[in-house]
Amino acid sequence: MIEMLDVKKTYPNGVIALNGVSVKIKPGEFVYLVGQSGAGKSTFIKLIFREEKASSGSVTVNSKDLVQMKWKDVPILRRDIGVVFQDFKLLPKMTIYENVAFALEVIEQSPRQIRKRVMEVLDQVGLKNKARFIPDELSGGEQQRVAIARAIANYPKILIADEPTGNLDPDTSWEIMKLLEEINASGTTIIMATHSKEIVNTVKRRVIAMEDGLIVRDEYRGDYGYES
């Protein structure tokens, strides 16, 4: 599903973000990505949906070679990848319904399909009754669930979550984790960057630990492993 081979990434300003990363993630896996800020987690994630391009090495996602990929093929790749961020990235002037529908409109789905699918995913994240609200009227946890609904609306094979619980209190974080586990159970591969020791140590899954642009540890059912 996702395969990286000796990937290096140097930014134009000379910062070396990844310094030879090799990893294989199989379909349906749930992977935590841990490590301190600046360890290369964000770059690792950005390489997967081609926000950034590897400087050397190879990156393969959904059997597509992302290093050779032409820019015009990037949108098609992204339609198979859902992304969720710490700051939700919802559009404040649109309702919850419109926020999710927007993601399907811009990839030119039919209105009939959009209506059906939006209510379906809002139901899945438990916000069907708040479809007409705007993001500011929702709690942080609810907003993140909207963001997740938007990310999975197009049935992505991979869901990337960049510190999805970073802005949330512990109780809400657990709700989000539960939701992510459900999505994972239905077959979606999940890659989640996180700083939450509790989550990693409680919901045991594969842990990839990064440090200085390298993978320093990769274990199934691993621990967070950092004293924080």
Binding site: F49, K89, P111
Partner: protein, 300 residues
């Protein structure tokens, strides 16, 4: 690239929405386009009509070759042949001194009767060849070539009129072009700024569109449509003025046309063609302005 009708509708709606939202910038850009196109249309109308007049005159421009009075009939014949052998000569007609005298008398009307006093042998005029160039603009060079031939006393043609019109046209064209190019750039700049504001206002929308896999063209289209709209809105007033102004001119053209060789181009199709050009320029600067800012902001 086939676009769905639904998608096209969406792009048009988005484009209209943002023009409406930035109404002041929209107004400024449309104003700049309007000013530019007004100048372009007045200038083009003037240039095209001047060219038209110049052409009319040029077509009537004949070269009169006065033959040396002492030339023998053979030499006259020989000169005729050598003129014919030159490049760019369309026709060569011989006009004897008697015909010349008759023409002079006719052209002067009553006062010309004085000249009828000249008897056949006292006619002071020369035999002449009337030469017409294939291309009117070659008249001057052709006249110079003929002047260097044997037995030519003098060459006359409407050099002053033709040269003056050409010089005036050249000056007008250069000054007009500089002015128009400067205005065009101002208009493009203002349009690209308007679009830039729209893009900045929609940065987060664009970010999400990219994230969920909208194609780059899908993202660009609304901005192109906005630019196009600004350009075309700007061409409405110039075209309206062009129609009324030229209609007025056309109605009063009888006054202008008292000089037979000065005619203005007919209202139809000239105004329609010019309007087409104006609206096309409007559309091009609109799209150009939007391309400039979209390219910078939507780097992929």
């Amino acid at each position: 690239m086939v676009m769905k009708v639904r998608t096209l509708k969406r792009h048009v709606k988005e484009g209209l929405k943002s023009s409406w939202r930035n109404s002041w910038m929209t107004l400024a850009s449309v104003g700049a386009v309007t000013t530019t196109l007004l100048l372009v249309s007045v200038f083009l109308a003037l240039m095209m009509n001047l060219n038209h007049v110049a052409q009319n005159i040029e077509e009537d421009v004949l070269i009169k070759v006065l033959i040396d009075v002492t030339a023998t009939d053979d030499e006259v014949e020989e000169l005729g042949e050598s003129i014919k052998s030159l490049d760019n000569v369309e026709s060569v007609d011989f006009s004897s001194r008697d015909q010349e005298l008759k023409g002079l008398i006719d052209s002067l009307g009553d006062e010309g009767n004085v000249f009828s006093l000249y008897g056949d042998d006292e006619n002071p005029l020369n035999h002449a060849y009337i030469v017409k160039a294939v291309e009117p603009k070659d008249t001057i060079t052709l006249a110079e070539e003929i002047e260097s031939l044997n037995r030519v006393e003098k060459v006359n043609y409407g050099q002053d009129v033709v040269e003056n019109i050409f010089t005036f046209n050249n000056y007008a064209r250069n000054i007009g072009l500089i002015l128009i190019v400067a205005l065009l750039f101002t208009a493009i700049f203002l349009i690209s700024n308007t679009i830039k504001i729209t893009i900045i206002a929609r940065r987060s929308e664009i970010e999400i569109m990219k994230l969920v896999g909208a194609t780059n063209w899908f993202i660009r289209w609304p901005f192109f449509i906005e630019g196009l709209l600004l350009g075309i809105l700007g061409s409405i007033i110039p075209i309206a003025l062009l129609f009324t102004g030229y209609y007025f001119l056309d109605q009063n053209s009888a006054m202008i046309n008292q000089f037979e060789f000065i005619t203005i181009l007919p209202f139809n199709p000239f105004v329609w063609q010019l309007s087409g050009i104006v609206i096309l320029i409007g559309a091009v600067i609109g799209i150009w302005g939007s391309i400039m800012s979209v390219r910078k902001f939507l780097k992929v």
